[in-house]
Structures are given as C-alpha cells and as structure tokens.
C-alpha cells in the first residue's frame, strides 16, 4: 500500500510538469482552452475533497465561493495589482467559509447539504439584488491584461500548492484527527480532538482554494453576472467529479475530474438542451456503480490481485 501512494505522487508531479509544457509545445487555442477547463475542475474537485473526503460532509456551496472569487476580480481588478486582488478574494472567501462553518458544522450531514445548497442560492440572490438596486446594472465586464496561458499556469501552480498542502495535512496531527473523525466522531471527542475546529479549518482551506480558482478564472469570462458566476450546476459537477474519482484519497478527484470534464464538454456541445438530464443520469450511474470512487475500486482490485498472486 505504501508503494502505490509514492508512485501516484510521482505520477501526479510528472503529469503536472507535462501539463505545464502544453502551451509551449502547442499554439492551438482549443487545447489551451480545454486545459484551462480541465485544470479548474481538477482544482475544485480536489479542493472539495480536502474537506468532504475525510469529514463525509457533502457541500453544495462550491459555486458560492467560486463566484465570490470571480466577483472580487470584477469589482477591484481594475484598481489593484493582481496578487492583491487574489488576496482580497481569498480573504472574502475564507471569511464566508468561517461564518458558514461556525454556523453549520455542528449540524448533521443531511442538514449541512441542504444548508450549503441554500447558501449558494442566497449569495446569488444577494448579488443580483445588489447589482439591480444599488449599482443599477446586471453584469460586469472584466477587461484585464491576462492571457489564457497565464490563467492556465496560475491554475496549475495553485493545483501544485493544493497537492503539497494536502500531502502535508495528511501527515500532520490534523490529518490524524481527520482520519479518526471520519471513522468515529465519538472516539475523536473522547481522546481530546476538537472536532468542530478541525472541520472548520478544513472547510476554510477548501473554500479558499475554490475562491481563488474563481478569481483566476474571472478574466477568462470577460463578462459576468450572478447567473453565470453562481450557477448551481458547477457545484453539482464538482461533487460528481470528486465522487467518481473517490473523495477519500488525495488524487482520487483528479481521476474523476478529467474524464467528466471531457464528457461534460462533449455533452454541452452536442446536446445543449438536454445537458441537465444527462448530468443527472451520470450522477445516478456513478453513485450506483462506483459508490466509493474509481480510486477505491482500483486499490481494492489491486489488493485482490496481490492476494491472489500470493
């Protein structure tokens, strides 16, 4: 079990390096666009699993954070240098995650799902209300001197940072706390683990990465309005990807996000009117046939093969 982990770590760093070379090797804009799309979903699915994997809380609020990141860029992007804008985005996303986490992480799993879904809608409605009544506009234009290549590399750099951070968390005291919490919260409480605080830290970290993904992606949209930036479908896609890959392992969501991003890209291009139906069908098939994700199914298969050989 130790070796596959090390191997998959090397594999992922190799893939990241190869992915980073893509814009250098090819000047085809379609592939670069595809690369950006894949990277943003890999990022969000992995960030989602950082919190939802060990705690088994399903969050449908991803798009609330993604949208806040995008809006931070739309609002202050012109006035301030990009790194400062990103910091503001992360601060806003983390603050919202902290407030939401404090209010909800004592709830049981089912209530949490519904709450997060409601939260995303609430944030969208608040932005709509503000834009219509206060700024008297519907959407905002984002004209920033950011090339697609730059966006792509920023996403990959953020992904590398996320992998490094998750890897470090897994080996830290917090990582052990999360494994105990995931298996038995009652035990966790009685050995001195502050369960709520551990979940809160993770929720904030996960949300900060999703917010930053939205901020990095913002210049690519050029025009945003609340319906685009806070589209609930994004939250559902992130959940399906992470579940398909397996939210329990660090690289599981990667294995889910890549094929599904390609599938969704194909479906939305070919069947734009039936996209939601096909998305729902994909969701059911995945939950029914690979409930623990591809990564878990593969490692179970690996173990069986190992036992059969021995």
């Amino acid at each position: 079990m130790k070796l596959p982990q090390k191997k998959s770590l090397l594999l992922v760093w190799g893939m990241l390096a190869a992915a980073a070379l893509l814009p250098v090797l090819s000047s085809n804009d379609y592939y670069l666009g595809l690369g950006i799309n894949l990277s943003q979903y890999v990022l969000m699915a992995t960030a989602w699993a950082v919190f939802s994997g060990p705690t088994r809380y399903v969050s449908l609020a991803s798009v609330a954070f993604y949208g806040i990141g995008a809006y931070a860029v739309a609002v202050v992007g012109d006035a301030l240098p990009l790194p400062v804008v990103f910091l503001i985005a992360v601060a806003a996303g983390s603050l919202l995650a902290l407030l939401v986490g404090l209010a909800t992480l004592r709830l049981s799993g089912t209530y949490f799902v519904i709450f997060t879904f409601g939260l995303a809608e609430l944030v969208r409605q608040l932005f709509t209300w503000y834009e219509v009544n206060i700024t008297k506009t519907v959407g905002r234009y984002i004209f920033l001197e950011v090339t697609p290549r730059q966006i792509y590399w920023e996403l990959l750099a953020l992904l590398a940072l996320l992998f490094a951070l998750s890897w470090w968390i897994q080996r830290s005291r917090l990582g052990l706390a999360l494994r105990v919490i995931g298996e038995d919260e009652m035990v966790a409480r009685h050995i001195g683990i502050d369960v709520t605080r551990s979940k809160l830290v993770l929720f904030v970290v996960s949300s900060a990465f999703i917010t930053l993904t939205g901020a990095i992606m913002a210049p690519r949209w050029t025009y945003i309005d609340p319906a685009i930036s806070f589209n609930a479908v994004i939250s559902f896609q992130v959940v399906i990807m992470a579940l398909l890959g397996g939210a329990g392992s660090l690289f599981g969501p990667v294995a889910g996000a890549i094929p599904l991003s390609l599938l969704f890209e194909f479906l939305s291009a070919r069947f734009p009117n039936h996209f939601s139906i096909l998305l729902g069908a994909a969701f059911m098939v995945i939950v029914y046939f690979v409930p623990n994700g591809v990564a878990a199914a593969l490692s179970a298969w690996w173990r069986r093969r190992g036992k059969a050989a021995a």
């Binding site: 706390a177 966790a188 409480r189 050995i191 001195g192 369960v195």
Partner: protein
C-alpha cells in the same frame, strides 16, 4: 488541582429523554487511587451516567467536580484534555488505523500533545502494557474483539488520564482473560489512576472495587462498601427482578 478533594464528585446529576428520567439526582464520589463500581440492571442509567460525566451528554441539572473543579456541561474533548479517559460499552476503535496509530491518536490530542518519534516510542510502550506489542502495524479492524478492547484501553491510557471510566470493559472475557484483565486494571489503579467502572462481572467487582454504587431505573438504590452493597436486599431485588422500594 485540589489534592484534598476527591478525584470525581457528582451531585444531583439528572438527565431526561422525553418523559423518561434516565438519570435522576445521581450522587457519587471516586476518591484518589480508588476503584468504584457502578452497578445496576440493564436500562438503569449507568451508561447515560458515564456519558454525562464524560461530557458526551449535557446534564439537565447537577454538578460534576473533576479534581476539585466543576466541569459539568464542558464538551468531551476538553474533559479528555483535562485527564478524563474512557472506554465504550461496545468497543470503538477506528478500524482502518493501525494499532500504533490508534494509540498515537490518544497521545497526540491529550493534555501534553505528544507527536512524532516520541509519540511512536510511547505508543509502543502502551501497546506492550496491554499485551499488544506485536500488533503495532496491524489495522485495528483485524484484531479479535478482546484485542480491540485492549487497544481501546491502551488508547485511553495514552491520554495519561487522572480518571478512567470503564464501561463493561471486562464483559465477554473467558476465565483466563478475565484474570489477566483484573490484574491489568489493578496495576493501572496502583500506578495512581482513579477508576469508575460499570460492570456486571461479580468476580471482577469483588476483586477490584472498594466501593459500589447501584442504580435502578435512574435512581441510586444503594451505595457503600462492596460486600455490604452486594448483600443489600434492594440490590438483590433489582437484579433478580423483585419489586424494589428504597
């Protein structure tokens, strides 16, 4: 803290679930270095009392003083960090963690927060103490039921507790294991811990407990020296199914 106060003093502890008074004005004390037995038929409120004392449940009323300090209503993790460890009636060990990791989890979040190589060394010591030295890298889920109980105890000891709450820790052991278990609990007491144990095994109660508290239907129906309590007519009636009136 206050070395003249008992390790645990409970006064008027009560908790209802709907209309049912699961624990009704419970009083008990555990002195320093003492083993006290909490007895009673099934459904008499013993496990609820353990949950109230250890912070898993919040009492409706009453006082819990731990080492001279009022702690009722504090969350379980804070009590664990103050030095109150427990085992569970139905053994609870995270099955996917190895035995060593299980014990490390007891060290890492306890009062001293031991981590890294120091934690691994100490964890091996705790495993050896309960007789699991050779199972360090085995996932807890692959242990036998008895070994999981030992592991749970090792994890509790890793907290370096002042008070240990054992909920039927000696239930389900065969005669040889029971003797080993009794010797282990006695050795733990001799190392300076105070112990409150819910138990049904009479041999263990007689061998270990200096005093006993007997509950029935949420009430304390008798308490005192073990031999006297076990001979008390209300206790016999409660256990044998007669009508008991205090």
């Amino acid at each position: 803290m206050n070395s003249s106060a008992p390790m645990l003093r409970v006064r008027g502890l009560s908790r209802s679930f709907g209309g049912l008074r699961a624990v009704d004005r419970l009083d008990l004390e555990v002195g320093r270095g003492e083993i006290v037995g909490l007895l009673g038929p099934n459904g008499s409120g013993k496990t609820t009392a353990m949950n109230l004392i250890s912070g898993a449940l919040v009492p409706d009323a009453g006082v819990v003083e731990f080492d001279g300090e009022p702690v009722q209503g504090l969350p379980a993790f804070k009590l664990a960090r103050k030095g109150m460890a427990r085992s569970f009636q139905l053994v609870r060990v995270p099955c996917e963690l190895s035995c060593l990791e299980n014990v490390i989890s007891g060290l890492a979040f306890g009062p001293r927060g031991i981590w890294g190589e120091a934690a691994r060394t100490r964890a091996r010591g705790h495993l050896a103490r309960v007789g699991l030295a050779d199972k360090a890298d085995v996932p807890a889920g692959e242990l036998t039921y008895i070994d999981q109980k030992r592991l749970e105890l090792a994890r509790a000891l890793a907290l370096q507790p002042k008070l240990l709450l054992l909920d039927e820790w000696l239930a389900g052991l065969n005669p040889t294991e029971l003797q080993e278990g009794i010797a282990l609990v006695r050795e733990i007491r001799d190392s300076g811990l105070s112990i409150l144990m819910v138990e049904h095994v009479m041999d263990a109660i007689r061998a270990l407990c200096t005093r006993c508290v007997v509950m029935s239907a949420g009430w304390v129906i008798a308490q005192g020296q073990t031999a006297e309590v076990l001979a008390h007519p209300d206790v016999l009636a409660a256990y044998l199914g007669g009508a008991a009136h205090a």
